[in-house]
Structures are given as C-alpha cells and as structure tokens.
C-alpha cells in the first residue's frame, strides 16, 4: 500500500505526532514496529501468552488515551516502554495482592511456542529454549525489578540513559545493577560456560 511506504519512512516521534491528531494509519505503523518487542517483553516479565497479549493491547490503549501527554522532544520508545514498565509493576502489585504471582514453574511450562520456521534445527531450538529458561529461572530469583532491567537492556537493547528514564533510577544505579545481574547470571549459568577463575 502506498501509505504504508510513505509512513514507514517517518520516525516514531513524527508518527506519534500524527496519532495525537487521530491518525489511525500512523498508529498501525507504530503498532507494527513495536508489537513483537512488547509482546516478548511482557511474556518474559509476566509469563503467559494471554497475559502478554492483553498487556500489549493495554499499552496501546494507554498510548491512545494519553497521546496528548506525549512530549515529541522525548524519544518515543522510552515513553512506550515507560508505559509497559508501569503496567508490569501494576500487574505485579495486583498479583501480590492476590498472592497468585507467576511461579518459576509457570514460566517454565508456559505456552511459549517453538519457532514458527520449521526449517530451524529442532535440537538447536530445544537447546536455546532450555538455555533461556535457565536464564529466566535465575532472573526470577532476582526479583521483577532486576528482571525488567535485564530485559530492557538485553532484550530491548535500550540505552542505560533510556532505562534510567523508564525506571526512574539513576544512570549509575542502572549500570551497577546491570553488571551485578549479568555477573550473577554468568556465575549461576556456569554449566553453559565453565569459568576458569573458580577457586
């Protein structure tokens, strides 16, 4: 479609400015740019396909409802992940109240699909899944806040500055926590990479 080509060259911020005026096409392009990133973030943060899909929808509903609050001088991805991060925090609070927090077992036996592409080596796929589950098993132990820091950095590849803005932490704190998380992961996932520094 012509409009898709036209809109695809625009920046997120320019598209968001159009969403503020009620442009549905601009919103479609933004949704297509970010839906997978948000979906995988929510699935790893909250565990479960249905919850992640609901949260994805919730994030974009917030985006529409609060479009007027968006400051175009700020980076769009930071603002969007700020909404997503706050939704995750609310969900964790809600779960704590109900005492039905997702357990590690929930995550391990979550309805996470294998890759759609059937040509992918099945052994590699299973190894990958096993490895990631081990990573997230360790992250679960560190708590939701540290898990979110890890996901924003390693999964979403956001800068430390952006993560600091999203979480409301100081940049130095984000850096030190990220290092701490990765160090713990490296120590605990030794079975994947044995460390020669072990005493």
């Amino acid at each position: 479609m012509d409009w898709k080509i036209l809109y695809s060259h625009r920046t997120d911020e320019a598209l968001m400015a159009r969403v503020q005026k009620g442009d549905a096409r601009a919103m479609t392009v933004l949704y297509e740019r970010y839906n997978r990133r948000l979906l995988v973030f929510f699935r790893r943060m909250l565990g479960g396909k249905q919850v992640a899909e609901d949260m994805l929808q919730e994030t974009f509903l917030h985006l529409i409802d609060r479009a007027g609050l968006y400051d175009s001088a700020k980076k769009f991805s930071t603002w969007l992940f700020c909404i997503a991060y706050n939704l995750c925090k609310n969900e964790y609070r809600r779960r704590q109240r109900r005492k039905s927090s997702a357990t590690i077992e929930d995550l391990l036996h979550s309805d996470y699909p294998l890759a759609d592409n059937l040509t992918v080596d099945l052994h590699e796929e299973i190894t990958s899944r096993f490895f990631l589950e081990a990573v997230f098993r360790e992250l679960e132990k560190l708590g939701p806040e540290r898990k979110s820091l890890f996901l924003l950095r390693c999964q979403q590849e956001l800068s430390v500055h952006e993560i600091a803005e999203i979480t409301g932490l100081a940049e130095g704190t984000v850096k030190s926590r990220l290092f701490y998380i990765n160090k713990i992961l490296a120590d605990r996932l030794e079975s994947f990479h044995p460390s020669p520094h072990k005493a």
């Binding site: 949704y31 899909e53 974009f60 509903l61 529409i64 490895f131 990573v135 460390s195 020669p196 072990k198």
Partner: protein, 176 residues
C-alpha cells in the same frame, strides 16, 4: 552464589562487555585484546552474546494477535469522536451558559430594554461634561449647545411652555 574469584582487570572488562555500546575505540580494542588471552572473560562475553542472540530470535518468533489492531482502531475512532463531541459540548455550554431558553430570551429582552432606556435617558438629559459638537456653516463656527439654547428659547416663546430636546428637533429646525 559460587565462591568465584575474578581478577580486578577482568571485572572491568566484564563491566565493559555489559555496557558494550558505550565503549570508546581504544577501550574496545583493549577489550578485544584481553578476550584473546583471557578464557574467563571470553566465556562471559560469549554468554552475553548468546543471551542476546537467543532473545532476539525469540522476538522474531512472536505472532501478535490480529484482533488487537482492529480493537485499537475502534478505540482511536471512539476517542476522536469523543474529543470532537467534547469540543462541541464545550462550545454549546459557552454559548448557552446552561440557561433555559425562556430565561435566556428574558435576559436578552431585559438587556435590550436597558440599552434602549439608557439611550433615551442620554438624549433627554445629556451629560453636563459632554463637550458641544462644533460644525461649520457659512464659514462661521456655531456650537450646537448654543444653537440648541437659541432654538429652545425661540420655540418656548412661540409655544408658551417648556419643550423637551426631542420634541424641539422634531418640530423646529435651526436655520441661519
């Protein structure tokens, strides 16, 4: 956590690996040199790369639900309609002051009467501070107040009773 001893140099290198995007060219070069000789840091870097690669692959395997976009379009249309309706409602409120129609009409009539009455009052009793208007007639300047006085005196003399200014001008004209 296991009892792991990591040399200080390696700790710094591992920090650099975690915050890889912020390294200068020289630091990056030094890091690569270190990785060639240090298996522990190499293992750490490989683990980091492995996690990132698998997380990226996981992202591309996602299939977002189709219904969500349709629902978002509907929501956006609703919000737009609501916004327009709100703007129209505000304008109506601004114009109507939330008054009933008969009250509004009564208020309009009162205002018209007041303005008309004020005009009449001003005509009958002109303010004393008002300066007389001057006009030119046959190269001589005549002040209207003076002309009015002359005309009124002449008219009252003719009628034999006092006369209002309105009646004065409707019945008599001043000619030079």
């Amino acid at each position: 956590m296991n009892n792991v001893k990591t040399p200080k140099a390696c700790l710094q290198i591992q920090k650099d690996i975690v915050l890889g995007a912020y390294l200068s060219y020289s630091t990056n070069k030094a890091l690569k040199e270190h990785l060639k000789t240090c298996p522990a840091c190499r293992a750490f870097a490989e683990l980091q790369a492995n996690i990132k690669d698998r997380l990226t692959a996981e992202q591309s395997a996602q299939s977002p639900p189709e219904r969500t976009l349709k629902q978002l379009h509907l929501h956006l249309a609703d919000r737009l309609q609501e916004r327009n309706a709100t703007a129209w409602r505000r304008l109506r409120q601004l114009l109507a002051f939330r008054m009933r129609f008969d009250h509004a009409m009564a208020a309009v009539i009162v205002v018209i009467c007041f303005v008309w009455g004020l005009g009449r009052l001003h005509t009958i009793y002109p303010p004393k501070s008002a300066k007389p208007i001057k006009y030119h007639a046959d190269q001589s300047v005549i002040e209207t107040a003076q002309a009015t006085l002359l005309l009124r005196a002449a008219a009252e003399q003719k009628l034999g009773r006092p006369i209002s200014e309105d009646s004065l001008y409707s019945r008599f004209t001043f000619t030079m």
